[in-house]
Amino acid sequence: MSDAVIPAKIADKVETPFRRFVSEFAESKVALGGLVVFIIIALLAIFAPWITPQNPYDLAELDIMDGRMEPGTVGGAGFTFLLGTDDQGRDMLSGIIYGLRISLIVGAGSALIACLIGASLGLLAAYAGGRTDSVIMRLVDLQLSFPTILAALMILAFLGKGIMNVVIALVLVEWAYYARTVRGTALVERRREYIEAAQCLALPTHRILFRHLLPNCLPPLIVVGTMQVARAIALEATLSFLGLGVPITEPSLGLLIANGYEYMLSGKYWISFYPGIALLITIVSINLVGDQLRDVLNPRLKK
């Protein structure tokens, strides 16, 4: 990138890689919008107990008499149900914000664990080569040849339902993507001089792997990671919708949508519709950010 492209106002400051990254990311207004929306969603989820008019998990706060109210009705407790209520009289807005919490925790958590496992195995495969490499990559191929939903179904059929099992299923389904990505980058990087230098210094293998090789494999890993978070959230919602995911007492977005399914046929659309919109906005905003990250971090597209 030449200096001429940098906007004048930051050109006089010292250009750090991070600052360049930020300014390149901000070139796309759509991606910036996606980021802002995602930050708002994350903040809503984090501060859920202080924002929502109701604690949707506290059965004492729910009044069955408020059940299936249309959006905008004033309930027994005195506040307005902006997005209506579900069959148990739960305020949909509160339910959605708490549901976002679960969806984000499950999605981000499983993506993070899968990243740790997948990236380590990918690094190992690239660095060790030979038999280790081919065993790990065979596993990756096997995993990737099955559709994610099928692998997840299989795992949940054995382990049973529950939030931990969903996370395990998502991790087992996703690790292969990280492993393949990291291996691909690491294979190129390990032939560079700095790795040779590190080896000449007789540094321990784990130090070479994690302090020298890994940081240089980060850009594609970040891109894949962002996309995988969105995928994990969508997959968790799908599994919960099928009744295989999180328990009914603490519904995620997918389960909220499933709960509203039967009422939708009688025209009570809001129970399914609004959680769906929340899910949609979350996934699309993450994907927009991921798309732009890919463009910015891809060295082939560098100007």
């Binding site: 939903i149 399914y261 046929l265």
Partner: protein, 325 residues
């Protein structure tokens, strides 16, 4: 070629064996096999008899041998709920799933090819941008939610299409098919479109990329220079050439379409294999779960094998590479 063939088939068999071991461990070792394979309603005497009949008192490796021999004979246990052989249940539901998957594939081609072609020919056009944005949505929208929205709009508010079930079926080759009756087709429309969404996006992107690449080829330039009409260049010279890779990928995707029909079938209460497996998981009808998993694993390995063999026939590089290692 023969060496490659034998090696590839052996490899596929090995994977089948490995998957059967995984399913076996999943059912027999992680869970309690007595609980999994014997109906919870059975009394003590029935229970003991079943334990002996299933060989659950044998050591684990012998149990696996019994499981394998029975599986090879097509015996994957009986469903608790329907009290019928699990395999038979799944085979009965298979036509419904297959026709849904094929319907979705055809819809994806009918909608995806023209849109992709348009977007490829006019990459900077406004409508092309709309198409590409739409295809991103198609990739990122969760299938089940789109299905619900389809039901809400077309079944609840407009009342145009029925929302659940298969409708009337006609008989062909001794099997029941929905596409043979008008009512059946009406029932199939929404589930098939829902299942097709992801694939439409895929076809659009593949076609667009293919068109943009092909348009730069010398033979296209030559055809234009010859003074052929733009329509002839587009449909004969460009379209025919991009059709091959697109159709290949769509064929490859058939397996995952069948797997993803689990979601669509649940939304539209379509009585196929996918609906059966979800119902079975929910009522813990484990023999059916085992049978479904084994069937689908077999199907996948078969599809992958066929694809690999076809490729190796079409592309000699694959053969040579495997000979080298």
């Amino acid at each position: 070629m023969t060496v490659y063939l034998v090696r590839r088939i052996l490899q596929a068999l090995l994977v089948v064996l490995a998957m059967s071991l995984i399913v076996f461990i999943g059912v027999y070792a992680i869970g309690d096999p007595v609980e999994i394979l014997i109906s919870p309603d059975a009394d003590q005497i029935e229970r003991e008899r079943a334990v002996q009949a299933l060989g659950l008192d044998l050591p684990l490796w012998q149990q696996y041998a019994v499981f394998l021999t029975k599986a090879l004979q097509g015996d994957l246990g009986r469903s608790f709920v329907y009290n019928e052989p699990a395999l038979k249940l799944i085979l009965q539901r298979m036509p419904a799933t297959l026709e849904l998957a094929f319907g979705a594939t055809i819809i994806a081609l009918i909608i995806g090819l023209p849109l992709g072609l348009y977007a490829g020919l006019r990459p900077e056009g406004r409508f092309s941008r709309v198409i590409m944005a739409g295809s991103i949505l198609g990739f990122s929208l969760p299938t089940f939610w789109v299905g619900l929205m389809l039901i809400m709009v077309f079944a609840v508010y407009l009342g145009w299409l029925p929302s659940t079930g298969r409708g009337d079926t006609g008989t062909l080759l001794g099997l029941q098919w929905s596409f043979l009756t008008w009512d059946g087709i009406r029932h199939m429309t929404m589930p098939a479109i829902n299942l097709a969404l992801f694939k439409i996006s895929l076809v659009i992107r593949l076609t667009r990329a293919g068109v943009r690449e092909t348009m730069l080829m010398d033979y296209v330039k030559f055809a234009r220079a010859k003074g052929l009409s733009p329509a002839r260049v587009t449909f004969v010279h460009v379209f025919k050439n991009i059709l091959i890779p697109v159709v290949t990928v769509v064929g490859l995707e058939l397996g995952s379409t069948i797997a993803f029909s689990v979601v669509t079938e649940s939304v539209f209460a379509w009585p196929g294999m996918g609906k059966l497996i979800i119902d079975s998981i929910n009522v813990l009808d484990r023999p059916v779960i085992v049978a479904y998993l084994m069937m689908i694993v077999l199907m996948f390995i078969a599809i992958n094998l066929i694809v690999d063999l076809t490729y190796s026939m079409l592309d000699p590089r694959v053969r040579l590479e495997s000979k080298g290692t």
